[in-house]
């Protein structure tokens, strides 16, 4: 019996190997170069030798995991492969130690890591902020937002254009341009909020896939305006020499500047983690989650959909806007290429891979997505390929992400409930 199953499995794998060999032959084995209108095709037979065994192994693995997934559906969903989740949520003591250790490690990072690593970590931290912003819209509100990079751009360009048009004024008045950063932070947030409201106008009536595509369209339109309206935005060349934040009037070396920005960003990340976790457990956070689960049922419970969607969008955008200002301050140079649709999708990857709705998941996702390609140079070239594949596989095998969000469970001591009649019900 067992041999029979094994045999039929092997035949299936051989079939799919043959199928994939045909499928991949033209694109992987043949390579085209066009010279003076004439096409030359070269053959890379070595790739075919690689396709066959890997297709065989992968199709075996694929069937094994699909079967396992099918069998796992009957089990209690709670325990499904949640090693990391249990590690983080399970034991309060371990959790607190881990938390304290990582905060200390991160807080002293610039002192032991060197300038290059600090800069890399700054961009990872900025992406944590972006991820947390998207987490409000997608993780809590359940709206697939594919234009998040647009708000990132709004923040960055607010600072950039503020410098471009008001910088001379500051210099003439004898004020250090470093001050501009501190004005740009709230300004970037406000501008992003304004654009968030603008985008909400068409979006509020839509749901699911339409919403995704409209936010995508919004992001692309904004990028095209930034790119083509050169007289105002600097066009494709962007804006350069954006001032770094002010530090007591000292003429800083790049290294000190990096450390300084690191701490600013670090404080902002801590602030956003605290506020997002507070939001999550607030009245409005619960309303978002209800909205995500079922819009119509939610509406019939008396929750104002329009208002809640608007707040989710605007709050998510504000985070992206502030992150944009920080980004501009870190790189001192911005151009429209940093804010393409793929940037939005990368932020989506952060949230989806890490764990939709879970703050620690988003942090982990951002670290994976920003640090992995940076430190594994060989991998950097293939990163988008792998992230795309990861999105598909995550959706199939682990839709809740690496770190699953633990939903809040309200418990009452048993005797308290027994003593109080249900009519009082002060939940």
């Amino acid at each position: 019996m067992k041999i029979k199953i094994l045999k039929s499995g092997l035949i299936k794998s051989l079939k799919s190997t043959l199928w994939f060999s045909i499928l991949l032959f033209p694109l992987l084995v043949m390579k085209i170069t066009v010279k003076e209108g004439l096409a030359h095709v070269t053959y890379r037979w070595i790739n075919l030798a690689l396709i066959v065994p890997s297709a065989l192994i992968l199709s075996e693995l694929w069937r094994y995991f699909l079967q396992k997934k099918g069998a796992g559906g009957n089990r209690e969903g709670k325990n499904r492969g949640a090693v990391i989740t249990r590690l983080i949520y399970g034991n309060k003591k371990i959790r607190n130690i881990l938390l304290a250790a990582s905060v200390i490690l991160m807080a002293t990072y610039p002192f032991y890591a060197g300038m290059y690593n600090t800069n890399v970590m700054i961009s990872a931290l900025i992406y944590i902020m972006l991820g947390l912003g998207l987490n409000i819209v997608l993780g809590l509100g359940g709206m697939l937002h594919l234009g998040h990079a647009a708000f990132f751009a709004v923040g960055a360009y607010t600072y950039g254009m503020f410098f471009r048009y008001a910088g001379q004024f500051f210099i003439n008045a004898g004020i250090s341009t470093g001050w501009m950063f501190w004005i740009a932070i709230p300004l970037g947030g406000i501008m992003a909020a304004v654009f968030g409201v603008l985008l909400s106008l068409p979006v509020l009536r839509l749901r699911g896939d339409y919403l995704a595509i409209v936010t995508l369209a919004f992001g692309e339109i904004l990028r095209m305006i930034l790119q083509n309206w050169g007289s105002v935005t600097g066009g494709a060349t962007g804006i350069s020499l954006i001032p770094r934040p002010w530090l007591f009037g000292i003429n800083v070396t790049p290294r000190i500047a990096a450390t300084y920005i690191y701490y600013i960003v670090f404080v902002f990340v801590i602030l956003s983690i605290i506020s997002v976790s507070r939001l999550e457990n607030s009245r409005i956070g619960r309303a978002w989650e209800a909205m995500r689960e079922d819009e119509i049922a939610c509406q019939s419970m008396g929750i104002d959909l329009v208002r809640n969607k608007l707040t989710a969008f605007v709050l998510g955008s504000v985070w992206a806007g502030v992150a944009g200002v920080l980004f501009a301050a870190q790189t001192t140079y911005i151009n429209p290429d940093s804010f393409t649709i793929w940037e939005s999708i990368l932020i989506l990857c952060i949230v989806v891979l890490g764990g939709t709705g879970s703050i620690s998941g988003v942090i982990l996702g951002a670290l994976i997505i920003k640090l992995l390609p940076e430190y594994m140079r060989a991998f950097a070239q293939y990163r988008l390929l792998f992230f795309g594949l990861a999105l598909v596989l995550m959706m199939i095998f682990r839709p809740e992400g690496i770190i699953r969000k633990i939903r809040k469970v309200y418990t009452f001591p048993v005797d308290e409930i027994e003593n109080k009649p249900a009519a009082e019900g002060n939940s």
């Binding site: 694109l27 096409a39 095709v41 694929w62 369209a217 119509i296 989806v352 795309g388 594949l389 598909v392």
Partner: protein
């Protein structure tokens, strides 16, 4: 007036290519209610295959007509194969999952295929040799329409007619219509849903591959990124006409083609790609069901 007619004709040619891609979107959406983000990538893969096979045959010194036929056949075959495989891997295990999960899976697939072609082939623009013949009888009206545009119009018309016949009069067409109306009910009366979905993906991918070859011959160049923007535009066309409706997709594509052509001609060519997005936002704000679409009722 001359300028206007010229723009209108080039808009028609553009629109008919969008129609070929939009058909795949609208059919897949009609049946599994999914915006197949990776559809544009299928179109790009079709065009790439035609270029590869065509290049190999050209090197062998074959007759241009044969090159055209064989490379078109290979492109259609391979694009359909990619379509089926994509459905089996990325969408089939998610039949019961929330729609958002399937959409994210589709985005992942699009990202994967795009970067796969980028890494396996090249990031540069390649010039696409014109496999299509020149027609003598079009010489007098060359100023208005060239041979490539003429062929595009003819091919699109033929494909549309065949598709309409298939859906109206064949058994599988009937099954497709039934599935798109009510999937569970169709299953109950003995329709094999998996077969219907496979056939839908084959048809969608095949028309996309044909569109890919035509547009690359028209533009004269190709790279790994062409699929994405064309896919989005075709999606806009499908939404504009009412997603799920086949005549709607065709109508929407022509409207989009004309708007783009006239817009770039009279307003500015810098913003060519943004016309589609602006139309999309407008139509979804004003009439989300599209020109020919039916309104879908929401139920708890």
């Amino acid at each position: 007036m001359d300028y206007f007619i010229k723009l209108l004709l080039s808009g028609t040619a553009k629109g008919s290519i969008y129609a070929l891609i939009a058909l795949g979107y609208t059919m897949v959406y009609g049946i599994i209610k999914l915006i197949n983000f990776a559809h544009g990538e299928i179109y790009m893969i079709g065009a790439f295959t035609a270029l590869l096979v065509g290049g190999a045959l050209q090197a062998a010194g074959m007759n241009p007509v044969f090159i055209l036929l064989i490379s078109t056949f290979c492109a259609v075959f391979l694009a359909s194969a990619y379509g089926i495989t994509m459905e089996k891997i990325a969408y089939k295990p998610l039949r019961a999952a929330p729609r958002l999960s399937v959409l994210i899976s589709a985005i992942g697939m699009s990202m994967f295929l795009q970067n796969f072609v980028l890494l396996a082939q090249t990031e540069k623009y390649l010039s696409f040799p014109s496999f299509l013949p020149e027609f003598e009888f079009l010489k007098p009206i060359r100023g208005y329409i060239n041979s490539t545009q003429f062929i595009i119009l003819i091919v699109t018309t033929i494909v549309m007619i065949l598709l309409t016949l298939l859906i109206k009069f064949t058994l599988i067409g009937k099954a497709m219509r039934a599935t798109s109306q009510d999937r569970e009910m169709a299953q109950l009366v003995g329709i094999n849903i998996n077969n219907v979905i496979t056939v839908t993906f084959i048809i969608g991918s095949a028309t996309a591959a044909i569109g890919g070859i035509l547009i690359c011959s028209y533009m004269g160049q190709i790279n790994y990124y062409i699929g994405f923007i064309a896919g989005i535009k075709a999606f806009v066309a499908a939404v504009l006409g009412g997603i799920g409706s086949i005549p709607g997709a065709v109508l929407g594509s022509f409207v989009l083609g004309w708007t783009e052509s006239l817009g770039t001609g009279y307003i500015s060519s810098d913003y060519e790609d943004s016309f589609a997005f602006i139309i999309l936002i407008l139509i979804l704000t004003v009439k989300p069901s599209g020109i020919l679409g039916r309104k879908e009722n929401q139920k708890v």
